[in-house]
Structure formats: C-alpha cells, structure tokens
Symmetry: D2
Subunit: 432 residues, 4 copies
C-alpha cells in the first residue's frame, strides 16, 4: 500500500516541487505559495486556517516593511490569487494550517513544513539542474536555496496520503505550513496562537545535511543553535567630506568599527558560538559623510545561555561603536530560535516504524547540524506539555551548500521523506 501510493504520487511530487521552486517567495510574503498549498489542502478535504488564525500578530518577528508587502501582494493578485484568499493574508499573514480528525481515539500528531525562500539570485547557467530543466526561479533575487520547496512537497504528499486513508487511521492530524522560517521569524507566532498546545507527537525535518545520502534518514538531530537576529541602524549627521569633514557624524565608520569588533567576540568555553553581519548598507554619496547605516546581524550559541552571551556582547559592541563615532544606534530583535533537544524515545520509535522501508535504506539515530531553526519553539512547547518531538534529516548529495546560488537537492529524496512520514502515521494505528 505504501509503495504503491508513493509510486503513483511521485510524478506529482516532482511537479509540485518544481512549481514551488519556480515561484519562490520571501518570508511573510508567501502569498502565491500559501494559495497553491491551501487550494490543494482544501481539495483534499482538510479544514484550513489562514491569516490571523495561523499566527499571533504581535509575535511575528521581522515582518517586511509595508511597501514590500504591498508589492508582493500586487504580484500575487496579478498572478491570480483570489481576493477572498488575499484579504486574509494581506499585511504578511501567510502560511496555512490544515487539520483533519479520524474521529477515532488516538494521538494528536502535528507536522511542520516551512515554505519561505531566500533573497538569493539563482544561478542561471545550464549546468545548474533547475536552470537546465526550466524551473529555476522566475523572480529576481529570490530562490528556494534551502530546500523548502521540497519540504512543502513532502507535506502535500503526506496530506494526500492521510486524506486517502483517513478511514484506516486513528487520532488527529495537524499539518503546519509555516511562513518565514528563515531568520527564525514565523514559528513563535504559531506557537503563541496555541497550535502546539495539545500535540502528542511533533515531527519536523529538513532536506540534506552532509554526509547523509539519498535513502538515509536521521531520526533525531543535535546541534541546532539558539540564535538571535538583529537589525541595527546607526544614525549620524552628514556633512561635505571635503569642506567640513569635522562636522560629520560618520554612521558608516561606526558600522565598520562595529563589524570588525563583532566578529572578534571571544569564543565561549561552553561550546559553539557564531556571529555574522550578513548585510550592510550605508551612506548617500561619495562626497558626503554617511549619516546612516543598517546592518543585519545574527548571533548563535550552543545553548540559549551561550547565545545570550553573544547577544549581550553584540549589543555592547554596537552601542559603543555608536558612541565612539558620536552617532545613535538602534537595535531591533527580528528573529530568534532556541536549541533543539529531540525526544530520545523517538529514535527507537522511528527506527521501528521504518524498519522495512522501501525507499528508506537506513535510519541513523542522531546527526549533528549547526544551523538554527525556529521549529525549536514548537519542539519546546510540545515537550513542555508532555509530548514528544523530533527534528529529522533526509539525506541527499549536495554539490553546493545550502544558501548557495547553485543549491539543488536530489529529487529522489522526496519519496524517502514521504515514506518516513507515512510510516510514522501508520504506526499510530497500533498505538494504544
């Protein structure tokens, strides 16, 4: 039954994946994406939730400025997203949650699939698989370079399976298609809306961390870092650089000083730390002392304590760089994640579920990664209420790393990941 289902749906998985890949959207602006997913879920018979039913408004972090939201809403409108959908989503309320109840007593399982893309300009050379096969990003400077196109696809595949075999299953199912995972901005707003409060088992996952090959699945992960995302602005005073340089308050120089010193935050004895200033924009023109600058910064740490250390150091450095150059600084926290501690019991559970896999070749108990994930908030919430939660990995060879303009994964992993979720669902039939 599993193999047949997956064989049948496989061509559709590839179609979905390529459609999502071709039309990527940034976090909180996944209007088209949400519409595509939501329409399909509706068709499959799910109860769906949109807009402010999905996320607690004020818990969203790093929502794009209004101008950008409206731009993308206009594009979505022109693309054909129905106004009845758009009016729920306007203002950055994207994402969709689908629920279905078997009517039979059983556990409440929740699955999370993230749906946003990255501000990267996809490689257009024909040696890049998506370009060669004509499904490279149709939008400039936006790209699914982290595999979320695959995640959504797997989510729809799972939704199709559950819908088809609903009569043979037990318990309740919640499928969360989360916006704005990049930057750790969307998950907390879903948690704060209460969606994870009575979940017994929570499963999330990601495509492709080395050295897993296609067919290999890690049941749990360790190493996801706690992190904080900061937007920093410096405000100084401009002046003519030739005539009165001493009257300028140089916000660009303040940023440069901050950058040099942020990377120099001491390492921490309790484990991994990370710091990055990924983006910097400053100044007006060549001969004017820059009166403004903006930086996008993130700190990470092996635990929330270590991340907090990085964050405190970063704040002090930024504020001192401002005072050094007599400018004002403003720090806005626009995203955050925690470390993830997977429920150990799920190692044996998933191993047992998947023991006779068709596409699945091997279950690895645990693997180490070093990214950051706001699914951590969901994991936390479920575990806090006595549930179990894990974050899995689905193997694929990668020629280029995540977030690279040439990132691409092997589509052969889609059936593997789908089989994993299906087997987890089926195992519920025998749960007590």
């Amino acid at each position: 039954m599993i193999a047949a289902f997956i064989d049948d749906i496989s061509p559709q998985l590839v179609k979905w994946r390529r459609s999502f890949h071709r039309e990527p959207e940034l976090g909180f602006m996944e209007y088209i994406t949400t519409y595509k997913i939501g329409k399909e879920l509706q068709r499959l018979g799910y109860t769906i939730y949109l807009g402010k039913d999905v996320m607690q408004d004020e818990s969203r972090l790093g929502v794009p400025e209004n101008k950008k939201l409206i731009e993308q809403e206009t594009i979505a409108q022109e693309w054909g997203v129905e106004e009845s959908w758009l009016h729920h989503m306007r203002g950055g309320f994207t994402g969709v949650i689908a629920t279905i109840d078997t009517g039979k007593t059983g556990n409440h399982l929740s699955f999370r699939f993230d749906i946003d893309a990255l501000p990267i300009d996809e490689c257009k050379e024909s040696s890049h698989f998506p370009s060669q096969h004509h499904f490279a990003s149709a939008f400039q400077n936006v790209m699914h370079a982290c595999g979320h196109d695959g995640h959504m696809t797997i989510g729809l595949g799972l939704a199709a399976f559950i819908a088809k075999y609903i009569n043979e299953l037990k318990g309740r199912y919640t499928l969360i298609f989360q916006p704005a995972e990049e930057g750790g901005r969307g998950a907390k707003a879903i948690v704060d809306k209460g969606w994870l409060d009575d979940v017994d088992y929570f499963y999330a996952g990601h495509i492709g961390i080395q050295p897993l090959a296609v067919g290999e699945v890690a049941a749990t992960t360790e190493g996801f870092l706690a992190s904080t995302k900061l937007n920093v602005t410096f405000q100084g005073e401009s002046s003519h650089a030739g005539m009165q340089p001493e009257l300028g308050k140089n916000a660009l120089l303040a940023a440069a000083t901050a950058v040099s010193n942020l990377y120099a935050i001491p390492r921490h004895s309790e484990g991994i730390t990370r710091i990055n200033v990924g983006k910097l924009m400053a100044g007006n023109g060549r001969n004017i002392i820059a009166d403004n600058s903006k930086m996008e910064v993130e700190t990470r740490g092996i635990t929330r304590k270590v991340n907090q250390y990085m964050f405190e150091e970063a704040k002090r450095i930024i504020e001192s760089a401002a005072s050094m150059h007599d400018v004002h600084s403003h720090i806005e926290e626009v995203g955050s994640t925690n470390e993830i501690v997977c429920s150990e019991e799920l190692i044996s559970h998933i191993s047992a579920c998947c023991a006779n896999g068709v596409y699945i070749k091997n279950i690895i108990p645990e693997i180490t990664v070093m990214g950051s994930e706001d699914a951590s908030y969901m994991v936390d919430q479920v575990q806090k209420n006595g549930g179990k939660a894990t974050y899995m990995l689905f193997g694929t060879h990668l020629h280029y790393p995540h977030h690279h303009p040439r990132f691409d994964f092997q589509e052969e992993l889609l059936p593997v990941a789908l089989e994993t979720f299906i087997r987890i669902v089926l195992a519920e039939r025998t749960s007590s």
Copy 2:
C-alpha cells in the same frame, strides 16, 4: 542699463531657480534640465550643441549604469522632453553648450554653469524654505543641495543679457551648461572635445561659501582640492554562517577593515588631505557570509601630488584588506579633479569691472575653499593655452551646509552674481 535689466529679469530668475529646484536630476541624467535650458537658449537665438557634440564619449567618468539611464530617460519622456532632443541625449549625453558671436573682433569668453543635483532626500518640513514655498524636490532622493539650480539660473540670466545687447558687445561667447560636476565626472569630457582650446577668458563660480554675505563676491579662490573618485568592489565567497563559517570569504568584513584603515591614512606635511567612504553596500542576507561589497570612495589633496599620495595609499589599503580576508578587489577610477590656481590678473580686472556695482557690495580678492571642482580641468586648459581663468564665489548666508537635506541659499544673491557676469561682459567693450 544693468540695474534696469536685472530689475526686469529678477522675477524670472526666481521662477527659473524654483523650477530647476523642483525637478532635480543626477549627473549624466539631466534630461529634463538640459531640455529646459536648451529650449530657452534656442529661444534667445543661440547656436546650441547637444549630445556627443558636447562631450568626448570615452572621457566621461562614472556614467550611471544603463538601467538607471533608461529609467530617467523614460521619466523625461513622460515629462514631455521631445524625442528630437532625447535621441541626442540618450545614454547619458546631457548638458548643452551655447555659442554666440558678436561679429566684432574681441576676446573669446567662456562661462561654465553646472546643472546636476545630488542623491539627497530633501527636507519636507515647512521650516525649510523650498518646502514652505512648494518648490522642494518632486523626486525622491534627488535634491539640488549644492546650488546648481542657482548656477543655471544665473547662466540663463547672462544668456538673456548677452542676447539682448549683442550689438553693443565685442568678441565671442560660449556658455557651457555642464552635466555631472558632482564627483568630477563631466568637465574633462568637455575639455577633451576641445571647447576650451581657444578661450581667452574663462569664468566659473559657485554659490555660497562662508563667510561671504549677499552682495559680496570673491574674485578668485584658492584651496580647491585635487581629488580622485573610486568605486571599489570586493568579491568573496558566501557560506552558511552557522554551518560552515570557515568556508566563507567575507567581503563585508574586508570592506569594514578597508574603511577603518582608509580614514587612518596619515595626514601629509604638504597640506590638506581628505578621504571619505561615502557609501557602502555589502552582503545578501543575515545568515550568509557576504560574498560581495561595494564602496564609493574619494581622496583629496591640496595638490595633485598630495592627492596622488592619498590615492596610492588608498589603493594599497584596499588591496591589502582584500588579501587579508582572502577576497578579490577591484578598483575603478570614476572621477577626478585637479586643484585650481586662479589667474592672479583677474583679481584687479574683476575688481575694476565691479567697482560701481549696484547689487554688488564688495569684491574680495581671494577666498579659501576646500571642495573639489572639475572646472579645474577647464581652468588648466585655458591657462595652458595662454588664457586667463578664475573661479569666483557669490556670498549668501547658509543655515545649513552644502549637501545637507536642508541646504538653501538666499535668492537675493542671484542679481548679485548676474551683475558680476554682466559687468565682466561689458568690460570687454573697452578691451583692446
């Protein structure tokens, strides 16, 4: 005759000035501006030169990228610039040169008025005079914050006078309405086209250096700095900042290191130096090691030798910042100016011309400024061929410095400056 002429034209001067101020355009994109000036010059009976007749194509420095040119050309078209004009100017060939010959033997006088605006967002508060009187910039992020709106106005006033009294004058007159003075990008291309080759007297000037008041005119200036304008790019490699920070080649950090060290170039014993990094853009996203950065830099020096010292230091620092962070750097020279050494004879000449001024209250022999001016190339060329040249200043009180979002000058200076030029022209009647 002078006073009457000026009294009559004064309301028109204010109208011109406010019209130019309301519709500012950046260097090499002064399509509307050139059209307004050119139409007026044509009406006055001048022979006018446009497009590639004005500038040597390959001598232009720092021409904006094609996309931006086309954007502004479209705006100009929508504004109503005739296609017969636009087709000369497309691709950044703005500016207009007007000539008129009295038919009588005499000197060849040339006047230069610069016409470009700055990438500054004009203050919209009502306490700002242009906002209060509804002629603040209609375009976002473009502003006449250096008085070129006044310069053009004075040029048109002078053109009107010469045209009206052509029969009473001697010699030949060339009025240069130069694009792209900001950044030292346009003058050299006009010089290279040969426009200054047979000029006997060259006059340029600027509005408003402290502490001159309205009515005061400086006959010559010293202190204009030699300068070089550089565009710098760093190219590194991106990597996920959490997962594999060691694989990144950080172009943002290279830029920050360069910035800190550029400002620290040693002062020079032979006199004034300046350095500015006015603009910096780097990176893709928060969690990606930045693989790119761009900087707009300028160096200045009291002489071309001292500026050359600054430029050589800057180059070495930029290249070393690149090698330090294992990224590639590219340095493009996009503008340059020389120092100006005004012809000393013109102090007494201008003083004599203006002795009985009506609007002119006082001629100051020489004043010191510290900007940079590509009129320096014109001054050089005229002097090299045995002509005399000067750069004058026209007093005004300034509440805010040049290049400030609240920059504004007193319109009362327009008659003063116009009178100065008129008296210089009239003095030619008695030259031998």
Copy 3:
C-alpha cells in the same frame, strides 16, 4: 601501607609545595627549581640526568634571549645553586629526569611533572592564601599560577614512595620533571631526545579543572587543543608625527589592524578554535611614528587540522596587515602542542587501581578541558610505539581560575594525587 606512607609524608608535601611556590621560575630558567628537585632525587638514590641529556637542543622552542637567561643564572648562583649543577644547565637547559630500575621484569612506566611558572605578578593581599601564609612569590612578575608547584611536589612524593618500596616493585620507572610547559616549548625536546621511545605506560596530570572537588580524579581527559605559538614582529619606518607623518611606516597601526582581524577569524564547523594576542609592544615615543612592534600570539584548534586552519588564517592576516601599512612582518613559531587522545583502556585500569582509595573519593572516567598541553607530544610518542598514555585531572575547588594573580589550589589534593600515582605503581606488581 599507602595511607601510612602518605600520612607521614604529608607535612613534607606542604613544605615542598610552599618552597616551590615561593621561588617560581619561568620556562627554561628553572635553575633553582631543577636544583631543588634534583638534589632530592639524588638523595633518594635515583640516577639523574641534567642539561643536554634531558633535551634535544634544537628542538626547544621559544628559549628566552641570552640576556634573560644570564640574569636568572646569576640569581641562581647567588641563591646557592652549585656551579657543578649550573654548568649543565646554563643556556636554558633546565629540567631533570630521574630513572630507577627494580631489576625485576616488568613494564616501563613514565611520569611527567612540569615545573615552570608564569609571568604574572602574584596578589599580595592577605586574603590570598599564599600571601597570608607567607609563601607568595618572592620574585616580581613570576608566579606559580598554574599549579606546577603542586605537580612537582606530587612527583617528589611519588619518587620517595618508589625509592622506599623499590624491592617490592617490578619494572622500570622514569620520572620526567619537564621545563617550559607553558607555551608548549619543552616537551618536544625531551621526546626528540628519545626518553619516551620504549615507555609502556605514560601518566601525566594536572591540578584543578572545574567542577572536580578534592578527592575526585579524572582518569582521562578529552578536549586538549592543538595549538601554535607565534612571535610576530612588524618593522616599519619612524618619522616625526607632527612634521612628516606621511613618511612614517606605522608598525603600531599594522599591529592594531592585525589584532582586530585576528580575533575575527571565522569559527570552524569542526569544532573549538581559539585565538589570542596576549602581548603587544610597539613604538618608541609619543611623537614618533612607531617603526616597530611585537606580538605574542597563539592559535588553538580541536584537532591539529583545525589548528592549522587557524594558523594559516593568522599568517595571512598578519602579512596583509603588514602590506596594508607598508611595513615588513616576520612570524616565528615558538611553541606548539597537539590534541591529546587518551588510551581508553586506562579508564578501567585506573578505576580498578583506585577502587579502594583512602584519599581518593571518586574516579571520573573522562573530563573535558580546553587548554593546550605539550605532554601531547609525549602521549603521541608512547602510543605510536604501542604504549598506553593518559592525562589525568586532580580535583580542587578554585576561587580564581588558572593564570590569575589570585590562583590557588587546596593543598588537600596533594595526598589524593599522590595516592593515585602510588596505586598505579603498586598495580604493576600484579601485571603480567
């Protein structure tokens, strides 16, 4: 027998410890220290090796300059070190190795105790235990702030035990009292002399890593970092800072640029990295552009590969900082350590030996530390030849961390550590 021996010798342990503490000496200058230890070992009947018999001359790293060696040799002479001893040690050939053979077939056990102090000025306040009890450092700017005074004491205690019970023991024993552990400078020279070539079991250890308490002993450690120690010099050109700043080549500014960027070397995905510029001296006088600077730098990494990455980054940064400021740089490698991988078999062996400890309360299998240790070269050499080796830790509460001017350990740990070594030696009686 063990408890009685330790009870008897305990007052002597405290005396030794305090004597060593009172007269600390820096690496390769432990003339008095070596003499004190050597005389005691001689008295106990050991064959002792001094001077060039201990270390391969050219393998020593970071030997102090001659002037300093001679200074300390003079102090040692005045202190009363016999000339017959001094003449072996002159030129930085300190340390002593003691051997004893039971005459019975058995394993060759080697123990290493390090003997050097640190360039730290010990706290003289009475709240500091050594000051209160009048055994604080008698020498300015030298202090046993890393517990090597305790290590030597334990070594002498062990030597006394072996000597006393030599007839009841089996095999051979080599006690290495190593100079210049700080900075990773002495061990390799002992290894290169061949002292570790035929050792079956090698034991080294350290006092006091948190959170072990007195009575607790870690049988093995993990986490010792590979490291490289660098001395860096920059050579520029001086110039009068007021009159001709542009002629200077600023070696102090080059060093400052290097420092900022060294701390900013990216973290590494394979694990722990460290970087420190612990010392910087630059310049001649306030009004002279500095033509010289010196830095003491160290890099560390979880493996020698990761340390090599840090080292390569550091070199490039230093060389680029030099080229940026047009000065010359010179990098000298003055010390290095490897990571330590303890022989796992020794966990159960030591646990078994110490099961019935009197002073020993608890054997912890493994603990993580993050220092660097040149005992790593000894561990490597022994394991390469088929022997087993470990690095143990002896618990103590610490009010202040290692290398702090108030560092002090609980003397109650001395019997614990001595008992550990004694029990290891006694266990040999039953080895086959």
Copy 4:
C-alpha cells in the same frame, strides 16, 4: 669683534656639542647635562638658579616615575655630579637659569635653550657622523636626535659672549636652559614660576628645518601646532585564553580598537591636525587575555581650538573603545603646547641686526614648520605682558629627519646661530 670672538670660541663650541651629544639625558632627568651647563655658567660669573627655583613643582607635566628618576640620579652620582648640586635636582628638578645684569638701564632679554634628549637608539654605523667621530650616544636608547645638544652649545657660546663684553652692554639678560621640551612638559612650569613675567624680548630657536641651508636664518616661524600629550591606560580582566576566553576583558583589543579609530579622526576644515599613538604596551603572556594596556598618544592642531577638537574626539574614542570591550580607561594629560604667533616687529628688527653678518648669509622673514613647542607658553606670557617674542630657525642640511636614529646636523651652523644671538644682544646697545 664678533667675528674674532666666534672664531676663537668655535673649537670650544664643537667640544661642547660633542660632549652633550655623547651623554644625552631624557626630560626631567638631565642631571649630568644641567651640571655641565651650570658649572660653566658659574665659571662665567652668572647667578644661577637650580631645582625648585627653576620650575613650579606641580606645573611639570609627565614627570617620569620615581624609579627611573632614581636610576638616572645614581648614574649622575657615579658620573661625578656633586651632591651639593644633585640634592637640588633630585626628583626631576633639572634645568638651570642664569641671570646677569649690566647695571645699565635697558631691556630685559630672555633666551631659551632646551636641553633634553629622546628615547631613540642612535645609529652606531660608521657612516653616521657622530659614530665615525666617536661622540655617538654612550647611553642605550637615549639620543640627541633633535639638535638640543646644539641648542645648549649656542646658549653657552652666547653666555660667554655676554660675560666677556658685559661692560659694553645695556639691560638685563636671562638665559633659560629648559628641561623636558620633548612632550611639551617643562616650559609651563618655568612660566608658572614667573621667569617670563617682566621680559621685554624673548628669543628661542631651533636647528634645522628644511629647506634652510647653513648660513640661513628664519627670523620668525609660523605653523607650530597646539598639542596635547596623553597617557592612556586600559584595565580589563585576565583569563586563560584557551579555557575561558569569555571571562576575559581584553585590554589589548580595546587598545587596538582605539588605535585604529584614533587615526581615523576626521580632518578639520580650519587647518592642520595630527594624531599619533607613538607607543603601546599591553598584556602579560601569550595565553592570557590581556588585562592591561598603555598608550602614549598626542594630538595636534593648527590652533588650540582645532587641537581641542582633536583632543575631545580622542577622549570619546578611547572611552568608547573601553566600553566596547568592557574594560576601564584612564586618560592622563602629560604635556601640552600652544601654537606660536611670533611678534611681527621682530622680522625687521632681526633683519636689521643681522644685515652685515659674517657667518649669517641670509635672513628669511618667516618659515613654516609643523612641530609643537612648549616655548609657546613663554612666547604667550611675554606677549601678554606687552613684550615681543619670536622663534627662529637656523639652517642646516639634514640627511635624515629630526627624531631619526641617524639624525645629525652640520656643526657649521653653530657659529651662524651664535652670531645671530650676539647681534641681537649688541643691537640693544643702541636701543632707547
């Protein structure tokens, strides 16, 4: 009479110069130097003043620490300075003032000669003239590299002339042999003691600013910069760089950040600025986060206002660098000078005096220099009370600049400078 006197004394001038050059002493430690000068002045019949009669104790800036003073006092004692002299000078009260009164009504003329050397290690190669002729510095790291050996010599020559011809002269004469000119530390303390209060004419001068040749004398100078000398300390916390880097408060990194940003203080539109960090010492050892650093800094400006700007910027930068790295900073002002505005009347006066010079070839009215001079305090005080004051320059070719280890001047300038002072003194005979 002048030529004969100078011819006779010339061999002695060379002897004095070379003796002073051979035994240089740093500021406030010129014990031997003061003794040599004072004994000669006594022999010539002057009333001499020593110790606290010369300087106001608390007005001295940057007095060396006691340990260094005592060291040099011991050397002076061993050299043979009499105890009756030493007891006046102990504690850094060096320098000597000599007065003589003709008994005839006339002006009070004061002359200042500075006597201190620099912390520079003199070149010992035979191509360096003083080394070739065996009068290079006998003391390590101290050198007359600014010509003060020549200044004192000229002062003694003038003293000899005045003493010899006292009966032919009018008025009163005060010869100030000032300590600690380098760093602007000694002059203010002499001014505060009242020595300049009733001076009618004050003359100071310096050897050798380009491009003056031997025989050329500048009557006045412009361009001496106002300056402030700062000693800066940062106090952090040390920690083991491998084990607990996050616990360190890095005072070395704070200093590096300060250095980079100090050099980057914006240039000033009102004229020359200078900044230098001439010396930096930081840290304890390679593997310890540095808990201390010290910097010697100076700012300069064309006027005291501009210097004040530099000083305020420097303070803010230093304090912000401290807060950035969570360390404490302390700023001590250890020296200062003002700009010098020479009395214009003295141009014609000196020109007239020296019109018929024998050794003097040419009087240049004014020359520009860019050093700093605490004679500025004397010039200020004299002018404030209605006197006239100037600072002259005496030409010499220089192969290497001031403060260079190979600095040397042409001894042929000594008669030229002496003749200048003699002619100024003789001119008083005819003053009314």
